[in-house]
């Protein structure tokens, strides 16, 4: 907080707290943003950036703390109120309606009507073009949005927001879907608007962008305020990264004594058009390989392509030295590969079904007596895993929807343990679960590799990756930028490669 001598900040957060189901997403966060600046909010996935922005736009309400706009305390309860305060947002996923025209989208909910209450298309189209011209973009107001590219849609989104005369604009990872020239165009527009007095709050993971477009920055970590950077162009990138990752390695990672053996699994030249480019990796018996990288860098896509859930255009997969043919998840499982998806609720569980149903689902062939399912065997197996993984529930007949995140995840783990594959891929295995359950899950992973299996762990949490993996493959834009050994790896190194730093750096 070194801004006291400066004029009243346009936005000020004071002591903001927000918890979800008892987990603190923001803990006493205070920060100030000055008028006319591009202020970056930096932090890892889950640091609280998006939560803070959602509080500013009225999507969430803070549990504690105050927000000041131009020195006046405000209560923002919904998006409409945020709009009235001239706060505009461009979210990661765009909010345009695909089959409406550009003009219809831009004037949505504020349609210009003529004297008898019908839509005045001429005026709307004209105004549209006018707004575009102010930002130096040529608009065709009558084209439907779904005919535009993602980048063009984003521009429309920005024009739409700009047409509402915002004083504060939130850009949440606006460049994730854009090419270099499109990014350049976006930055030109941002600078244009900045000249006209608009303040920007800019969320991005890309260091180079932050340096190009940003003026100042605030770093958040684990929901807490860490640092303010007054002049982002002068500070060293390494310094910023150390602010972002800064915490010491927790001691919550149990050690293991797995013997690392021969290569049992190998992927060669795996490619998926526009998503993955020439992925190569090897996995040894008893080894935990980490996939690190930013969201959308190709970690999950690699796992899904290996598992047959994403169609690959090229690439071969080897198990014990033999090439295996994977056309879909059923082939992968047959050959001894399992995949625990990152989205537990949408892809991992049948929420409406009970624990027992979920655990045995992938391995029904194992509990067949003649052609019928052996219900006694089912009960025996599920009770065994319930005890082994300590799934806390009154009954294995409990519907999984009602379990806590940690217990839900254990049910999905039990499902794959019962499938008894050789290679396990765990995608964000500890997301959204509490610390206690986390270390239990690390123990399960340790047990697996100690028994001679091999495990791939995909995680956005660097301490977790460093704490449990033997080697770490760092993904950047659909390729493996580098593979680090556990001994030589640091959070800073991983972030460096994940953000596209060159190999020499």
């Amino acid at each position: 907080m070194k801004n006291q001598d400066k004029p009243t900040p346009i936005v000020e957060f004071k002591g903001i707290c927000k918890a979800f189901l008892g987990v603190k997403a923001l803990d006493n966060v205070s920060l100030k943003i000055n008028k006319g600046e591009v202020h970056c909010i930096l932090g890892e996935n889950g640091a609280g950036k998006s939560t803070l922005m959602k509080i500013l736009t009225g999507v969430y309400t803070a549990d504690e703390g105050d927000i000041f706009i131009n020195g006046n305390q405000v209560d923002i309860c919904d998006i409409r109120q945020a709009q009235e305060l001239n706060i505009g947002t461009v979210f990661q996923e765009n909010s345009l309606i695909p089959h409406l025209t550009v003009a219809e989208n831009i004037f949505l909910t504020r349609e210009i009507k003529n004297s008898i209450g019908l839509m005045d298309w001429n005026s709307m189209n004209k105004e549209c073009i006018e707004w575009g011209r102010k930002l130096g973009v040529n608009l065709d107001p009558s084209i439907t949005v779904n005919k535009l590219s993602v980048a063009e849609q984003q521009i429309i989104e920005i024009v739409k927001m700009f047409s509402r005369n915002p004083h504060i604009v939130i850009l949440d990872e606006p460049t994730s879907a854009l090419s270099d020239s499109e990014i350049e165009n976006l930055f030109r527009i941002v600078k244009e608007m900045q000249k006209q007095g608009v303040t920007f709050i800019y969320i991005s993971h890309r260091m180079d962008e932050i340096k190009t477009i940003g003026n100042s920055a605030t770093v958040l970590r684990d929901g807490q305020y860490i640092a303010t950077i007054d002049n982002i162009k002068e500070i060293e990138t390494e310094k910023i990264i150390s602010y972002i990752v800064g915490r010491p390695l927790d001691e919550q990672f149990p050690g293991r004594e797995a013997e690392i053996g021969e290569v049992i699994f190998e992927v060669k030249n795996l490619s998926v058009p526009k998503v993955l480019d020439n992925i190569n990796l090897q996995l040894r018996r008893g080894e935990v390989l980490g996939f690190s990288g930013l969201m959308g860098s190709g970690r999950t896509e690699t796992a899904k392509a290996i598992f047959g859930a994403l169609k690959r255009s090229e690439g071969s997969i080897y198990m014990y030295g033999e090439e295996i043919d994977i056309k879909g998840p059923h082939d992968a499982i047959k050959h001894g590969i399992s995949y625990l998806p990152e989205d537990r609720k949408e892809e991992g569980l049948f929420l409406e079904k009970d624990i027992s149903w979920n655990v045995v689902f992938s391995s029904l062939h194992k509990m067949k007596r003649t052609n019928l399912l052996d219900m006694k065997e089912e009960k025996r197996v599920v009770e065994k895993y319930k005890t082994q993984l300590d799934i806390r529930t009154p009954s294995i007949r409990q519907v999984t929807k009602y379990l806590s995140g940690g217990n839900q995840q254990k049910v999905v783990f039990a499902k794959w343990l019962y499938a008894e594959t050789d290679v396990y891929i765990f995608d964000e295995p500890t997301r959204g679960i509490d610390v206690g359950a986390k270390s239990e899950i690390y123990n399960i992973i340790n047990d697996l590799v100690t028994c001679g299996n091999a495990v791939i762990v995909i995680s956005s949490e660097l301490p977790e990756i460093l704490g449990i993996c033997d080697r770490i493959a760092v993904f950047h834009e659909g390729t493996i930028a580098t593979t680090l050994d556990r001994t030589g790896a640091t959070q800073e190194k991983i972030m460096h490669y994940a953000m596209g730093g060159d190999i020499s750096g």
């Binding site: 598992f307 879909g328 059923h330 047959k334 995949y339 949408e346 892809e347 409406e352 079904k353 009954s395």
Partner: protein, 324 residues
């Protein structure tokens, strides 16, 4: 489960897990009502009459249950019933062999079911659209091959299927109970049954669990087609004639039985037991309103109200269970 405190809850939850128990209460109420207000309802001959009437619908509804549990629907059932009747009748008339007639009916139903299933599973058009298309195509085909005229069947043994009795119980009742039992075993005790529920419950998870989703969707439509064929055999045998216009809107009757029986139209939840209860409820209402001397158009009103009422009750019950 042996703790006293949990006992009440466990009986309740056990009961509610047997899908279709929700429809038992309305069934009981209707039976009691009709027993009090009519003299002839609770007689053996009337009950047998009701069950025989329920047979055709409930066999169709059994197949419909499979499809609806996957999250789909089969609107072609009524048309397929007519086509199966006609192909079966032609076969029996030209060969004199009733068994061959039954086999041809089953093959007819299976082919249409297979086509429905393959298009829904692989081309991924909504089941509603695909089977609506089949409804028209199959009906048109039936009218074309019969030249819109009825095909009479003269075969004394074949008549027994729809008109005969065994131990004073109509043979169609045995057929619907056997089909129901087989369907129950498939759904509740085989891997295929679980996959069918799984597809309706969460297709993404099903696929990522290693299930060949398409293959199991096809099985459900195939089963629906075969059930319709069996219903067609009963129907043809009872009337001794195949009318090309037979079975119109029977698919709606089957859907009604399924939803009254507590199967979720969104898929993933439900069961055969409920469907059979649903089919019996509809048959009893038809019969009861006649016994009460109420005009037949009233039947439609009451069936409509029962559909909305039964599903509303089910939704409310679930909501209460969730808030608990």
């Amino acid at each position: 489960m042996d703790k006293t405190a949990e006992k009440k809850d466990s009986i309740f939850s056990k009961l509610s897990r047997v899908s279709g128990t929700g429809a038992l209460l309305p069934l009981l109420i209707i039976i009691i009502f009709l027993s009090i207000f009519t003299k002839s309802f609770l007689t053996t001959s009337n009950i047998m009459q009701v069950l025989r009437q329920a047979a055709v619908y409930s066999i169709m509804a059994t197949g419909m249950t499979f499809v609806i549990i996957t999250g789909g629907i089969d609107l072609s059932q009524g048309s397929v019933l007519a086509l199966c009747c006609v192909t079966s009748a032609f076969t029996i008339n030209s060969t004199g062999n009733m068994w061959l007639g039954i086999i041809v009916a089953i093959l007819t139903g299976a082919v249409v079911g297979l086509v429905n299933g393959v298009v829904v599973a692989y081309i991924k058009i909504p089941a509603f659209i695909m089977t609506l298309g089949s409804l028209y195509v199959v009906r048109g085909l039936t009218l074309y091959i019969t030249n819109s005229t009825q095909v009479a069947v003269q075969h004394d043994k074949f008549k027994v299927i729809g008109q005969g009795f065994l131990f004073n119980i109509p043979i169609p009742v045995y057929i619907f109970l056997i089909v129901g039992a087989i369907a129950y075993i498939i759904l509740e005790h085989t891997a295929t049954g679980r996959y069918i529920f799984a597809i309706g419950s969460n297709e993404a998870t099903t696929r990522l669990s290693g299930v060949k989703v398409e293959r199991n969707i096809i099985k459900a439509y195939l089963f629906s087609g075969i059930c319709v064929a069996l219903a067609a055999v009963v129907y043809l045998s009872r009337l001794s004639a195949a009318q090309p216009t037979a079975g119109q809107s029977y698919e709606l009757e089957a859907i009604a039985a399924v939803v009254i029986g507590g199967t979720s139209i969104a898929g993933g939840e439900g069961g055969i037991f409920g469907t059979l209860v649903g089919a019996v409820i509809i048959a009893i209402i038809r019969n009861g309103l006649v016994l009460l001397g109420v005009g037949s158009f009233f039947t439609q009103i009451v069936v409509g109200l029962i559909i909305v009422g039964a599903v509303s009750l089910d939704v409310i019950r679930r909501r209460l269970a969730m808030n608990k």
